[in-house]
C-alpha cells in the first residue's frame, strides 16, 4: 500500500511538472497567487486623476507623459488583468493542484518522463517555494485519493468535493471575485476613451475563459444597462467620450460634414463593436439573461447618499433595439459586427418574452435584411432566426 501511494503521488507530481514546465508562466502564477498583488491591482483600477489637456503631456515629440488619458495607472492595471485573465480561476482548483502536486523536490533532470525533455529550457523548481508546495506527500490516504483521481480521469479534480479544496484556496478565490466590482465604474469613465475600450476588451477576455462563466451568469442589471448604453455613443459632441470643449481647445480639423453625417459617421464604432460582441456572448450564456436584456431598465434614486440603482421593468427595451438595428447594415468598424448584431437579435428572438420587442423592431429588421445580399450571412440569420420566429 505504501508503495502504491508513492507511485500515484509520484506520477501526479510528474504530470503537473510536465504541464507546468510547458504551458504555465511563472511570473503570472506569482502574481495571481499573491492576494496582496491582486488587491493593489484592483486599487489601481480606481485611479481617475488623469487629464486630456495638453499640459499633462510632455513637450517632447513622440513622448507622452504618464498620468494622462492614454498612459496611466488604471490603464496599466487593466492590461495586467487582461494578461492574467486566461489563468484566473474562481473554483480554486488550479491553485489547489499547484499547492498539492507541485513538488519542489522532484528532480526532473533525472526523470524518465517527457518532462525531462523540457528540463533544459525551464527549471520548474525555480518557480515554486518548496515550503508551500508538495502538500500531497503529507496527506496520507487523502493524498492517495486525490492523486489517483488526478492520474486517471479527473484532470481538474472536478469530482472532488469542495470541502476538501475550499480551506486551501478560499482567500484566493475571494480575491479573484473582487476583480469584477470596479468594472462597472470603469465603463462609466468619460475622460479616458482608452480606459473604456480596454475595459470592454477585458470583459471579452473574461468571457472567453470558461472558468469565469458562472460570474457572468450573475451579471448585474447595472452592467447590462451600461453595456446597452455603450451601443450608441456619439463620436463628436458633448456626449462623446473624452470630449474636448472647443471653448478652451481649438480643434481646427473637425469638418462640418462630419456633423451632418448619418449613423456610420456619428457613432463611436470602436465602443459599439466591442459592446455588441460582449452582449452577444453574454446572451449566449442563459435564457434568463436573454429575458433580462429584452426588458427596459430604469435608473431609480434611492434614499441613501443620493445613490441610484438600476431596475428592470416589464416594458420592452426600446433603446436596445434602436441602438442595435443600425449596426446590422453598418459599413464602419469591424467586419463581423453586423454578424454579432444579427446573432444578438437571434438570441433575443429565441425567448417568447421578447416577442413584443421584435414586433416593435420588425419593420426595420425586415428593411435591413432586404437591403443586404440574400446570400449574406447576416441576411440569412435575420430571416431564419429572427423574422422566422415572429
Amino acid at each position: 500500500m505504501k508503495h502504491e501511494t508513492k507511485f500515484y503521488i509520484f506520477t501526479a507530481t510528474e504530470k503537473l511538472t510536465f504541464l507546468f514546465s510547458t504551458t504555465v508562466q511563472g511570473n503570472v502564477r506569482f502574481i495571481i497567487y499573491s492576494i496582496g498583488m491582486i488587491r493593489i491591482l484592483i486599487g489601481a483600477l480606481y485611479f481617475r486623476n488623469f487629464s486630456t489637456s495638453k499640459t499633462e503631456r510632455s513637450s517632447k515629440e513622440n513622448e507622452i507623459e504618464t498620468g494622462n488619458s492614454t498612459n496611466n495607472m488604471c490603464l496599466h492595471a487593466i492590461h495586467t488583468f487582461n494578461n492574467l485573465a486566461p489563468n484566473l480561476d474562481i473554483s480554486g482548483r488550479k491553485l489547489f493542484l499547484d499547492i498539492h502536486f507541485l513538488d519542489a523536490d522532484i528532480d526532473v533532470t533525472e526523470s524518465k518522463t517527457k518532462a525531462a525533455r523540457y528540463a533544459d529550457y525551464v527549471d520548474v523548481k525555480s518557480y515554486v517555494n518548496g515550503d508551500k508546495c508538495g502538500l500531497i506527500q503529507k496527506m496520507g490516504v487523502s493524498g492517495l485519493k486525490i492523486a489517483r483521481n488526478y492520474n486517471t480521469k479527473d484532470e481538474m479534480l472536478e469530482n472532488m468535493d469542495e470541502s476538501i479544496i475550499r480551506p486551501f484556496v478560499k482567500d484566493n478565490v475571494c480575491a479573484t471575485l473582487r476583480i469584477f466590482s470596479p468594472i462597472f465604474n470603469l465603463l462609466r469613465v468619460r475622460s479616458s476613451r482608452a480606459v473604456v475600450v480596454s475595459t470592454l476588451e477585458l470583459l471579452m477576455v473574461f468571457l472567453d475563459n470558461p472558468d469565469l462563466r458562472e460570474v457572468f451568469l450573475h451579471i448585474s442589471d447595472s452592467m447590462l444597462f451600461q453595456l446597452i448604453h455603450l451601443l450608441w455613443i456619439p463620436r463628436l459632441g458633448r456626449d462623446a467620450l473624452e470630449y474636448v470643449d472647443p471653448v478652451f481647445n481649438s480643434v481646427p480639423r473637425v469638418s462640418t460634414m462630419k456633423l451632418l453625417g448619418g449613423y456610420d459617421v456619428s457613432v463611436d464604432y470602436e465602443i459599439r463593436d466591442r459592446s455588441i460582441e460582449i452582449l452577444q456572448k453574454v446572451t449566449d450564456l442563459s435564457d434568463d439573461l436573454k429575458r433580462r436584456f429584452g426588458r427596459r431598465m430604469i435608473v431609480t434614486p434611492s434614499d441613501e447618499f443620493e445613490l441610484c440603482s438600476v431596475k428592470i421593468t416589464d416594458q420592452l427595451n426600446t433603446r436596445l433595439y434602436d441602438s442595435l438595428i443600425p449596426a446590422l447594415t453598418s459599413k464602419v468598424g469591424r467586419d463581423h459586427t453586423p454578424n454579432f448584431a444579427a446573432y444578438l437579435l437571434a438570441n433575443l428572438a429565441s425567448i417568447d418574452d421578447n416577442l413584443s420587442g421584435l414586433l416593435y423592431a420588425e419593420r426595420r429588421i425586415l428593411r435591413a435584411a432586404t437591403s443586404l445580399s440574400p446570400e449574406s450571412a447576416v441576411s440569412k440569420i435575420l430571416f431564419n432566426n429572427v423574422l422566422g420566429r415572429i
Partner: protein, 214 residues
C-alpha cells in the same frame, strides 16, 4: 552656478534624484544575470537564451525594495522596469519570486499610506465563507462605501477600495451612479505627491510587464 532650465520638460530629472538616469545604472543592483545583451552582441552570440537568474537574486531584489534607503528602492524599481520591459529577454523572477511580489505590495501600501494589509480586505467571517466564494450579483457591485468616503481620517477607512477611491479619484467617481462628495484633502495629486504617484505607477507597470511573460 548651476542653471537648470525646466521650461521644456514638464517632469525634469534632477541629477542624483529620484528617477534620474544615473540611478538606472546603479552598480549595486545585480544586473549581471539578467542584463540584456546589445543587439550586435546577441547576433554574434551562439546562445540567445538569457542566463537564468541567480538563486538568491529575487531575495536580494526583495530586500532592496524593503530598504529604508530611498535610493535603493528607486534604483531597484528602475532595474525591474528595465528588465521586465525587454520583450526579448522574457525576464522571469525565478526562485523566491513571490518575495519580490510581496515586497512590491508592501512598497505600494507604504507609498499610498495603507497600513492594514490584506487583513480587512478578505472576508474572514466563517458564516459567510460559502457566500463569498460563490459568484453572485454582489460580485459586480461596487465595494466603495459612500459613507466612508467623507471620512476625516484615512486611518478610519477599513475598505481598501474606498481608500483607493479617496486617494486616487477626484470628486467625480466611485459611487454607484452619481458623483459623490469626496473631499480633495486626501487626494494624491500631481502637484504635491508627484514622486509617490510615480512610484505607484512604476510598480503597476512592472507587474504589467511581468504578466506579459511567455
Amino acid at each position: 552656478m548651476d542653471n537648470f532650465d525646466f521650461s521644456d520638460d514638464p517632469f525634469p530629472l534632477l541629477p542624483g534624484g529620484l528617477f534620474s538616469p544615473s540611478s538606472m545604472d546603479d552598480p549595486s543592483i545585480p544586473l549581471s544575470p539578467m542584463e540584456p545583451s546589445r543587439k550586435r552582441e546577441r547576433e554574434s552570440s551562439p546562445d540567445p537564451q538569457p542566463q537564468a537568474p541567480a538563486e538568491d537574486n529575487a531575495t536580494e531584489i526583495a530586500s532592496k525594495l524593503r530598504s529604508n534607503n530611498p535610493d535603493d528602492i528607486v534604483s531597484t524599481l528602475n532595474f525591474l522596469l528595465k528588465v521586465s520591459s525587454d520583450t526579448e529577454m522574457n525576464y522571469q523572477l525565478g526562485r523566491g519570486g513571490e518575495e519580490v511580489i510581496e515586497a512590491l505590495v508592501e512598497l505600494f501600501d507604504d507609498t499610498i499610506g495603507w497600513s492594514k494589509g490584506n487583513s480587512t480586505w478578505i472576508n474572514k467571517d466563517d458564516d459567510k465563507e460559502n457566500d463569498s466564494m460563490k459568484p453572485s450579483h454582489k460580485t459586480w457591485e461596487s465595494n466603495v462605501s459612500p459613507s466612508s468616503v467623507g471620512a476625516k481620517s484615512l486611518d478610519s477607512i477599513d475598505c481598501w477600495e474606498t481608500f483607493c477611491a479617496v486617494r486616487f479619484a477626484p470628486s467625480t467617481v466611485n459611487t454607484v451612479m452619481n458623483p459623490s462628495h469626496i473631499s480633495p484633502r486626501h487626494l494624491l495629486n500631481e502637484d504635491s505627491d508627484r514622486d509617490s504617484l510615480k512610484v505607484l505607477e512604476m510598480i503597476i507597470m512592472i507587474v504589467r510587464n511581468l504578466s506579459y511573460g511567455e
